[in-house]
Subunit: 245 residues, 2 copies
DNA sequence: CACCTATGTAACAACGTGCAACAAAATCGA
DNA sequence: TCGATTTTGTTGCACGTTGTTACATAGGTG
């Protein structure tokens, strides 16, 4: 891919400049903007690969802008916000953000997530679902999509719960591509029923990944298949072949 | 199908916004509305795939609106209510709701039921009743609609009770389509004679399904034909062929 | 090294479902 | 009509699944 062009939208000039500088240091092209008009100009003009959007824009609410953007063009959006309250996050995702970062954030995390989102640009924001394939094999394992049966390398059937099965499917459809917790949650229809204290949607994804590891990894403590991408999420890091029949 | 467009009708602004947000999070398009006028506008305007309707609308009673809607357009309706009393449920179904959820509800269940209803949109609200067919075969079994006789794969006649027969017929007419307990109850004319403690209409459907499984499944503990769709209901998951004569 | 954050995970709680056992109701034969 | 049998609904408990929480650990920074 050519050098990524990132639109940095924030009405706080300092923050805007800081993020832009940081991104440029890391090999991206950062285009600062502070109003919706500027955003629109950039979108109409050159190619934009990603938008970093602050939710607390002065007049226009970032959420609304984000929602409109998703309708008009297929540009990935990462929301940036000082609001960590749970429902605020939900609003961010609701309008279709690809990810969500809370200020003050660790610059590395920002970079990691920017990369993660860019690495799957050109896919639409939702994950790819392979169709017309019925059997997946990976690392000796076999997964029959139709019956949802999972066979270990020594042909022993392993029982996965519904959520575990869905998680496995998500990874099988996107091997070698890091999936953020937000993406996983979306494809799994995670709801986030009650209040959360920590970062995003609770730790349910982490726990779920742990449970799946416990069933398909030889040594769950040192995963060979479902690896952690620190600051981003998880990767299915072995090759997957899909056959019909 | 295109992205589902869901009309969220509730006079409680908070609840309305919450449900709408939640649905958007999960890839639907949610259109909030609080009065019948707004509902009408939406229906006259764009395409609407599903209506989430609160029964306790301020002036207009949700039930009446629901009833009218069913007459005018063929839009599926899921009733939402804080009233768990039995007769209220019945009223909901009476006017033709496709499902019924009691507040406070588990968001995951809401989503599951929304999906279930959407997945069989384009069918009218009532289940399909095949006519002019007399014999069904599935997984080696044979069912003669006229005599209501059931023959196992090795041609042994199995006796089903009336309710069990009706249940089997409902599934034979809708193979591969998950049926909610509410739908099953409706087609079986379940009345709900007394009070219930738990969620819906008691567990009678569960027990009935269990009994049918005991008669037609090789191993009722691991059903191959009549499978459970957690959070939704049950699916008849084998192919069904219907012949005359 | 201390410190901070992200991640792993055991223990727990909440929930849906299966099912046996019981109770109530319907059906049938005399 | 009465009693026996079958059918149907209800209830309580067991069990599996899934989200939450609290604490331990790993990875990275200065």
């Amino acid at each position: 891919m050519a050098i990524p062009r990132i639109l940095v939208v924030d009405d706080d000039s300092d923050m805007r400049q800081m993020m832009a500088k940081f991104l440029r240091q890391n090999g991206k092209i950062a285009l600062p903007a502070s109003t919706e008009r500027e955003v629109q100009n950039h979108l109409d003009g050159g190619r934009i690969d990603l938008i970093l959007l602050d939710v607390m824009l002065g007049d226009e609410n970032g959420l609304e802008i984000c929602g409109r953007l998703r309708h008009e063009q297929d540009v990935p959006v990462i929301m940036v916000s000082a609001l960590s309250a749970d429902h605020q996050r939900m609003e961010g995702y609701a309008v279709g953000a690809d990810d969500y970062i809370v200020k003050p954030f660790n610059p590395e995390l920002l970079l990691a997530r920017v990369k993660a989102v860019l690495s799957r640009a050109r896919r639409s924001s939702s994950l790819v679902h392979r169709r017309n394939t019925k059997t997946f094999t990976f690392a000796g394992w076999t997964y029959h999509a139709k019956t949802k049966e999972v066979l270990s390398p020594d042909s022993v059937q392993v029982a996965l719960s519904r959520r575990e099965t869905a998680l496995l499917q998500a990874f099988l459809a996107n091997p070698h591509i890091p999936l953020t917790r937000a993406e996983i949650a979306t494809t799994l229809d995670v709801t986030g029923t009650s209040e959360q204290s920590r970062e995003a949607m609770g730790r349910s994804i982490d726990v779920l990944v742990g449970r799946l590891r416990g069933k398909i990894e030889t040594n769950p403590k040192a995963p060979q298949i479902l690896k952690t991408e620190r600051g981003v999420g998880y990767v299915f890091s072995v090759d997957v072949t899909a056959q019909d029949g």
